[in-house]
């Protein structure tokens, strides 16, 4: 009895020693790496030569940070493995309960964001930054939800999703500038055009699978962008299309004078009215995307998408037309990208091929993968993290106090993205919300 206790104690002590040793080793490696990279900085001197500035303080901070982080990580992992050993069957239930609470909470915040921002910053005009950020995030949430249909539900890896976004944006830009159509007519048209492009691309390529499909969709995205750059007569080339008509409140323009939004509703004119309207517009569009996706999951077509993701051959043996099923997923996903694209055009008032490069596709795909394939709330959280995160970085003034005046957190954006991805793959390889909610339950049907 006493023997076991001693053994347990020495075991714990040995573990602690090993953790400290491991952290020290990491700090040592950091030191070795930072001597050539960090310890001296070359600045242009008064003359022509360079001046060496030593930065041993920073090296010490780096090593200490690595030591501390590694220590914390190892202690956390050790604690977790001990926790796991006790076996905790309630954990998944707790996770799903938490995610059930997150959804209404997030929705509540989203619905009241303009009011909250105005209250927090002390005025509607001052809250512009936050509402603009909200619009940006919601655009990506909508794109993420749209792509989730294709990648998360139907399991078709689409690397060129931004192409449909571009089709939507240019549809609105061209239809409104050339034919003078209003936004509310262009919005469904843009969706239809994008869906048509989805079908057009889908027909030849949907017999491909996995990596091959990814390559072809990637190429398709680039083709659309290059056509937009080079077909100058049609799309204005690299200069893009400008002076696209702004959104109106169902026909009432957001102008200062007579017949404007403010005058009609007896308000004082404020340019923020339009921004708030745009915010609620994209919120409504995103929620429609979400609603349709949630409904589709419970319909035979949505179930067929998921079945297709699981096993295409079994689907075929059950009489499901796999080509048509894939096409519907592709077209529906493209349609929502088209809606989002025309919203993008009406908000910016300017479109150019620059906005539709591969990085956009990659970010949208990263949002879907990080969120957990097929999980709606996971995608929303991932979009907030991926788009809101860099903005948050921009505002972290105290980092300058730590790393010096010249430190610009934005330069480290991609580095942090990379770290976040690695962390995700290690801790939650199936995405933030990996649990799949069944589309139907026998218990509930009783």
């Amino acid at each position: 009895m006493a023997g076991t206790a001693t053994m347990a104690r020495t075991g714990a002590g040995g573990e602690a020693a090993a953790i400290v040793k491991d952290a020290l080793l990491h700090a040592l490696v950091t030191l070795g790496l930072s001597i050539p990279i960090v310890s001296y900085r070359t600045d242009a001197g008064q003359g022509t030569g360079l001046v060496l500035t030593s930065r041993w303080g920073e090296v010490a901070i780096l090593c200490a940070a690595v030591f501390g982080l590694r220590l914390a990580q190892q202690l956390f992992l050790a604690g977790r493995s001990r926790h796991r050993a006790k076996a905790d069957p309630s954990a998944p239930a707790a996770v799903s309960r938490a995610s059930a609470l997150i959804a209404p909470f997030t929705l509540g915040i989203a619905l009241t964001l303009p009011a909250l921002a105005a209250l927090a910053t002390g005025g509607l005009s001052e809250s512009r930054y936050w509402i603009d950020l909200g619009i940006l995030i919601l655009t990506y949430v909508m794109l993420g939800w749209g792509l989730n249909i294709v990648v998360g539900l139907a399991g078709l890896l689409d690397l060129g999703y931004v192409a449909f976004y571009a089709v939507g944006a240019y549809s609105y830009a061209l239809l409104s500038t050339v034919f003078g159509l209003s936004f509310w007519i262009c919005l469904p048209l843009a969706g239809l055009f994008a869906a048509a492009f989805g079908v057009l691309l889908g027909f030849p390529v949907l017999r491909l699978r996995g990596d091959y499909l990814a390559i072809v969709t990637l190429a398709f995205g680039e083709i659309i962008r290059l056509v937009l750059i080079n077909w100058v007569d049609f799309s204005g080339g690299a200069a893009g299309l400008s002076s696209i008509p702004r959104a109106s409140f169902f026909g009432i323009p957001f102008t200062a004078g007579e017949g404007g939004f403010a005058a009609t509703f007896g308000l004082d004119f404020n340019p923020m009215h339009r921004v708030v309207f745009l915010y609620y517009l994209i919120l409504a569009l995103a929620l429609i995307t979400n609603l349709v996706t949630l409904r589709m999951r419970r319909l035979p077509l949505g179930r067929a998408w998921e079945a297709l993701r699981e096993d295409e051959i079994a689907c075929r043996s059950l009489g499901i037309n796999t080509t048509m099923t894939k096409l519907t997923a592709f077209a529906l996903g493209a349609m929502f990208a088209g809606f989002a694209g025309s919203f993008f055009a009406v908000r910016q008032g300017f479109v150019s091929p620059e906005s539709f490069n591969f990085l956009e596709s990659a970010i949208i795909l990263a949002i879907v993968v990080l969120g957990g394939m097929g999980s709606q709330i996971g995608v929303a959280i991932a979009a907030i993290a991926m788009v809101g995160g860099p903005e948050l970085l921009r505002n972290l003034g105290f980092l300058k106090a730590v790393f010096g005046e010249h430190f610009d957190p934005n330069e480290y954006r991609l580095l942090l993205f990379g770290l976040a991805m690695v962390a995700m793959m290690v801790f939650r390889p199936r995405g933030l919300i990996a649990e799949r909610e069944p589309s139907v339950r026998l218990g509930a049907a009783r």
Binding site: V292, R295, M296, R298, L299, P300, L301, R303, A304, E306, A307, E310, D311, I313, A314, C315, R316, S317, L318, G319, I320, N321, T322, T328, R436, P438, S439, V440, R441, L442, G443, A445
Partner: protein, 306 residues
């Protein structure tokens, strides 16, 4: 015996009257006619003809690599045969040429369902969802190709409730009701096999093709499977065609057995007849070296193969 089989084979070719003991079925649901399947230089199935009687349980047996699964893949539309015809005659009189239908229409229109040698469930969907996916065609029509379903019209809700009832009936039969809301991939192996059969049956097939349904099952599970297959045949009037190595299953439940070896049919008849057929025994157990040539000549292997 071998003479009788040869006569039977002739009868299929000429469509003449069947000889008594092991002749072809009177009312065939499936007629495989001169089926040949080549993969490059390899002839996996060579001029195979047989009939499957309506309401029978027919077993397709043979040593490994005999071409059984290839025949299945041809029947269920996964391969397009190099030569030959596969005719399915439904009770209503409609006849379909299976080799001409697109893959998914073999199930959707001709109503031939199948299972797979290595189980192909939808592992990350629940047991109930697996069965509902199989009822895609009626549910899709009820949901107005999703338009009525998106709007939540009552017609679709009723159709889904009916589909769930049907799924529940099958779950009760295969004893999986308690696990209906668990992921199919989490089920034990034997349960997955039964679920795959139930899923195939949910498509309302007239012909059910089972590729080694008893593989990996223990004796108790095998006898349960026998009961399930008989039930399927007797209560649903579904004809069963199965590939199987487990002779306890094959001999007990089959009405008729077709034996393949190297892509050729070497015997076709009742279980009792097959049990004593010398060529079948030779194909499974081998023969003395001195007899090899004689047997190969009899089977018709020399020249075409090896």
């Amino acid at each position: 015996m071998s003479l009788a089989t040869a006569a039977g084979r002739l009868a299929i070719v000429e469509g003449g009257p069947p000889p008594a003991a092991s002749g072809p079925p009177d009312d065939p649901i499936l007629i495989v006619d001169h089926l040949t399947m080549r993969f490059g230089g390899l002839t996996a199935v060579n001029d195979l003809s047989f009939k499957v009687g309506r309401g029978d349980i027919t077993a397709l047996i043979g040593p490994n690599g005999a071409g059984k699964t290839t025949v299945f893949n041809c029947i269920t539309g996964f391969y397009k045969p190099s030569e030959g015809m596969i005719r399915l005659c439904q009770a209503g009189g409609e006849t379909y040429l299976l080799e001409r239908l697109p893959g998914h229409d073999v199930n959707r229109i001709a109503r031939v369902a199948r299972t797979f040698q290595n189980i192909r469930l939808f592992p990350r969907m629940t047991v109930l969802e697996n069965l509902l996916v199989a009822m895609h065609k009626p549910l899709m029509q009820a949901s107005g190709f999703s338009l009525a379903g998106i709007l939540g019209l009552a017609g679709y809700r009723n159709a889904q409730a009916a589909a769930i009832e049907k799924a529940r009936a099958w779950l009760d039969r295969i004893d999986l009701t308690a696990r209906a809301d668990d992921d199919a991939g989490d089920l034990p192996y034997g349960d997955q096999r039964r679920l795959e059969i139930a899923r195939a049956m949910c498509t309302d097939p007239v012909l059910l093709c089972l590729d080694e349904p008893a593989a990996g099952l223990n004796p108790k599970e095998s006898s349960e499977l026998n009961r399930l297959l008989r039930q399927i045949r007797d209560e649903h009037g579904t004809t069963v065609l199965l590939i199987e190595h487990d002779m306890s299953v094959v001999m007990q439940i089959s009405d008729r057995i077709v034996v393949l070896d190297y892509g050729l049919k070497i015997a076709d008849g009742t279980p009792d007849a097959i049990r004593t057929d010398t060529r079948v025994i030779a194909a499974y157990l081998g023969v003395d070296d001195s007899e090899v040539e004689a047997v190969e000549a009899e089977v018709g292997l020399t020249g075409t193969q090896a």
